[in-house]
């Protein structure tokens, strides 16, 4: 299959990469790296891991670029590699970053209009971290990153309805986890 697209489009750039144009690889990278890194960081919560997952994503994507058939947008194809690399990486390491240490040592992030109470924030983040992998991915992508269920379905290779169901369950689990402190957050 030959990829064709308007000059400057992802498809046109991919065609140049496949034709051996090294500069085109850099163009693709520049166009998509922030989004991939952002997604990896949100899931991993660690700069080194996010960096490693982002690099793995692009290495794998470039190696497999010839298999990209153009049926979905390149950003979706790349995003599905990124989420797969990230989830697999986190699973393989069997590693959970120490949220409590992070919270105690973390610098305040920018200026916030309305900051969460530290204790409530800790509980919420712990509850998100404790979610099953699939639920956490859907929650982070939908609630924090603003992806639609259709986009999440394409990224995780699940039905959009499954994405909605997982979000519903994730939210229910958060409510349960935060239940004993309902007075703090139900106000």
């Amino acid at each position: 299959m030959t990829l064709r697209g308007a000059p400057g489009s992802d498809r046109a750039t991919i065609a140049r990469v496949l034709d051996g144009d090294a500069a085109a690889e850099r163009e693709l990278y520049e166009r998509h790296v922030d989004r991939v890194y952002r997604m990896a960081y949100r899931m991993a919560g660690d700069a080194e891991l996010a960096r490693e997952f982002t690099q793995d994503t692009f290495v794998r994507a470039f190696d497999r670029l010839a298999t990209f058939r153009g049926e979905a947008a390149f950003s979706t194809w790349l995003g599905s590699i990124a989420i797969s690399v990230t989830l697999t990486g986190l699973r393989q390491r069997k590693r959970r970053w120490d949220r409590e240490i992070d919270l105690e040592t973390a610098e305040p992030v920018a200026v916030r209009r309305e900051s969460l109470e530290p204790d409530l924030r800790r509980r919420l983040f712990e509850a998100i971290d404790a979610l099953p992998e699939g639920y956490r991915a859907v929650l982070v992508l939908h609630e924090l990153e603003g992806y639609t269920h259709e986009e999440i379905g394409a990224l995780l290779d699940i039905d959009p309805g499954t994405s909605k169901a997982q979000l519903f369950r994730a939210r229910a689990k958060l409510r349960t986890a935060l239940g004993p402190h309902a007075g703090d957050w139900n106000r």
Binding site: R38, A47, R112, E114, E143, L174
Partner: protein
């Protein structure tokens, strides 16, 4: 309409749950390039890439160019014997750093291209080693570079002592990196990186490589 308190909480968490810092674009790209540089060629061959396939020649132009330059350099070096041309005669309009001694232009070009390639590889290795246990696919690149390093050192016509000294140091470093491929560990990689840093190998490599296209290399033809 009543707002769901959980929505409010999650809305506030948006800025606070693993807020991503700016992506370290350059560092990541250098590591990606280094990793791909070590295995791309083999993978493409394994996929059965045909010479007739569009773009194949262009993809192979760089490694073929280096090989050709090396071959031409060695050949010219042998043929010219004592045929030295007036000092300072340069190829091209600019005058980049010259190689000392009576090194032929082609050989000087091949040496500088090799140094440039080694610099890219070691920069990638250093970044990778700082982040994690280096990928064996990346380490495989050290063996090729080591072979070329030895080839250049064995060439009597490469007379620039500064470059020869640098190549001797690179030979040691590349041999260590190549050995790491069998059983890569973070500790061993750290030791190599520490040695690289202590000896200032990368800064010296960079100052040995003239900025701009490698074609602007002067020497004797």
């Amino acid at each position: 309409m009543n707002e769901d308190p959980l929505d409010r909480l999650l809305d506030q968490a948006r800025d606070q749950y693993n807020p991503p810092p700016p992506a370290p674009r350059e560092d990541m790209w250098a590591a990606i390039e280094a990793r791909r540089g070590g295995r791309t060629g083999m993978q493409r061959w394994r996929r059965g890439m045909s010479w007739r396939q569009p773009g194949t020649i262009r993809k192979l132009a760089w490694p073929l160019g280096i090989a050709a330059l090396l071959a031409v350099g060695f050949g010219l070096g042998r043929l010219t014997q004592d045929g030295k041309v007036a000092p300072g005669r340069a190829l091209g309009p600019t005058t980049p750093p010259e190689m000392e001694g009576s090194t032929s232009v082609a050989l000087a070009g091949a040496a500088l291209l090799h140094l440039s390639r080694t610099e890219t590889f070691l920069t990638g290795f250093r970044l990778e080693a700082q982040a994690r246990v280096p990928d064996p696919a990346l380490l495989a690149g050290a063996r090729d570079l080591l072979g070329t390093t030895r080839l250049l050192l064995d060439t009597p016509d490469l007379k620039d002592q500064r470059v020869r000294q640098l190549l001797r140091e690179l030979e040691v470093v590349l041999a260590q990196v190549a050995q790491l491929q069998a059983e890569p560990t973070r500790e061993d990689a750290d030791l190599i990186v520490r040695e690289l840093d202590e000896q200032g190998v990368l800064p010296r490599l960079r100052t040995s490589i003239p900025a701009g296209p490698a074609a602007n290399i002067s020497g004797e033809s």
